[in-house]
Amino acid sequence: MDRSRRGTRFPISAGTRGGVRPGARAVAVLGMAVLAALAACGGRGSAGQAEGRLVLAAPRDLAAGPEDPYFTHRTLRVWEPLVTLDDEMRPAPALATGWERSDRGRRWTFTLRGGVRFSDGTPLTAEAVVANIERFRRIAPRPSAFFSLDAGMEAAYGKLAGVRAEAGKVVFTLAEPVADLPARLADFYSMIQAPSAFGPGGDFTGKPVGTGPYMLASWSKGQRVELAANPGYWGGKPAFDRIVVRTIPDANARVAALRAGEVAGLIDKGALLPGQVAAVAADGRFRVTRTPSVLTHYLTFNASRKPFADPRLREAVDLAIDRKAIAGKLLAGTAAPGSPFLSPVFGALSDPGVRSAYDPVGARRLVDAAGRPARPVSILISSSETGQFPYTDIAEVLRTDLEDAGLPARVNVAEATRAVMEAGDYDLFLSAYSVPNGDPDYLFRRFLRSDAAWNRDRNLGYRSDAFDRLIDRAAAAGGADERRELYHRVQRLLADDRPMIPLAYQDNPVVTSTAVTGLAQSPAYLVDLAKLAPSR
């Protein structure tokens, strides 16, 4: 009776009263099982570093496969270039021990390091170097995950008439003089691998065969690269026998892997986001290394239409921006306020005489004199860049800075900024640019020269014969002093004309556990894995 009465309300539960509770038991058993399983595999040791083996992580895959011109990123040290860059972006010897210029920059002769062998045992020869340069020219233009080859390779080799081997040396002959060929060749564009590594079409037939301290042991696309020390390396054996670099694209997951001890360090561009640096640096288990990078945040003006066709209003924007707040607060101190067009990583080429100023009162005066624009100015940012840097916040600060100066503004976040810019539908564009090979000519010629695609197609509206002449002269300048003086003049000119203004020079923070020493990073995000060693 009792059952049927209760059954009308809960027909099924009635029978369980006072008896077994199967559901509860099942849940309990399941819960116990999960806990037991977790406890069983708990206490995982620190996998980031075992005997002779090091595990690191990077935001992107540092190997790109046989169809890529390089197969592996320079950071992995599988291959070496003829010329590399030192900490101040000056050309430094790698496989070439020295170079000589003759015929006023139309002929460059590179002397090769002796006793160097590729990882397959064959010796490095001048003929092998020539084969590599010719392969680059043959397969260009070719996209790369790291450093695309442009049609003609002019940015790298200038107007190259020929390259050949002469008595064990490599000779570049150029149709027009190039003052800084070694700097242009540095790193990627002078990668040298055994010619046997390439098939007839220029693709790799198997693994890369370089001269570096490490060899590619295995690669699992998008997941991990495993390197093994090269026993025949000319520079001596590196401290770790094996290095694994895992690809972890998500920034939070990357730091979690570091904290969990799965990886002993994070390297490469964007390894730590600005917002993550303080917390990781405060943790005694890790050592954060902050080095200036080739990345600079610029504000680009659309001077082909009102209001910024008026130089007074461009100056007003320049004065209205609180660069200290942007670099110090929004970028969390991972950047320095920008002044000259070329950041300090360009060394002597950066002009210390150019100083940006924060003068909201002066900005307001200029706006009053020029007249307030009829409609709000549009600040354009790219949605793809907001993931890496706090661009929405920076754009918001720019907007308030401009409004304080009397320039009403709005922020436009776009997916395809190119289309917006080509339609001319913007006034200011906030974006980061980098000069991966440290060549200022690349930046000026590709972005700002009167005939530059960027300037012309994206409606920058910058036309200056003086600027064009100066950068042409600087590119052909023979002496270092002359070249420096010309680039300083270029920067003073740009500080007056303001087609683009630098907001902040970005650092690239990287990190290792304190159990690892020797982490150093070049401005172009290159890490020398062979210098890493266990702490004593």
């Binding site: 708990g42 695309s148 972890i248 694209p249 997951a253």
Partner: protein, 307 residues
Amino acid sequence: MTLALRRVAETLLVLLALSVLTFLLTSLAPGDPAEEILRRGGVQPTAESVAVLRGELGLDRPLFSRYLQWLLGVLRGDFGRSYADRAPVAAEILSRVPATLRLAGTASLIAVGLAVVVSVRAALRPRALDSRIARVATVAVAAVPPYIVGILLISVVAVGMRALPTGGDGSPDAVILPAVTLGLAGTATLLRLLRADLAAVARLPFVKLAVAKGLSARRTVVVHALRAAAPGAITAAGVVLAELLAGAVIVETLFAWPGVGQLAVTAIRQRDIPIVQAYVLLTALATVLVLTLADLCVSVADPRVRR
């Protein structure tokens, strides 16, 4: 038989419409694949390089002829080559299918298992404390995006307890955290449905009869009521599994899981149209297959449907 044929014809039509749509959307969206690909390393390409690459990729030809060529290729089983690294698309996707299947399979096992256990418990003791907690927890889990659940799991289980890896596919237990993250998202949907169905079935006369005959409550629920409630749940499970296959995108990125979803995210960012196209087609096909499979299962479980 005619029904099956109609089903196949419908599926093909859906796939065709879908392929036109994705092709148009990805091709007409602003942004030039050639420029995006050349710029990957951070170097601004020259206009000449962009033009040459556009020619190589066939981007300078009219939209319609590009689509036609792609379609003819697909009919021959050739999905083309990736714009970005020139690898054959079919091989690229196939190599990543096992990882996604393993993740989605484990996740759906977790989702179905959890949903069945909790809903049976709720049917047996609807007012018990654990049933109520489960009810609240379901709503809570359904309300939190998988990305947040994943981050929480990583920081507690992987970083705090060091019990499981934070991601990657380096060891057999690496699948657990991403599968739980993905599975929990499916559990919520499934659980609500199954619980409602069980409650409805519980009011049917045959259940009362079973109880009246003295059958134990556990046997009544697990053997009789659950089977009667199964058709709705199986259909729902099919939908959930299809969602998991497609929805693995976020979880795969968070856990660096080398599946199809991660590939798709990268491809979309680089405007690698051949990969995006193949991904959309494959996901659609998988969805149709899973739903058909669910229909088959329903007809096995429920004799009424067969007639």
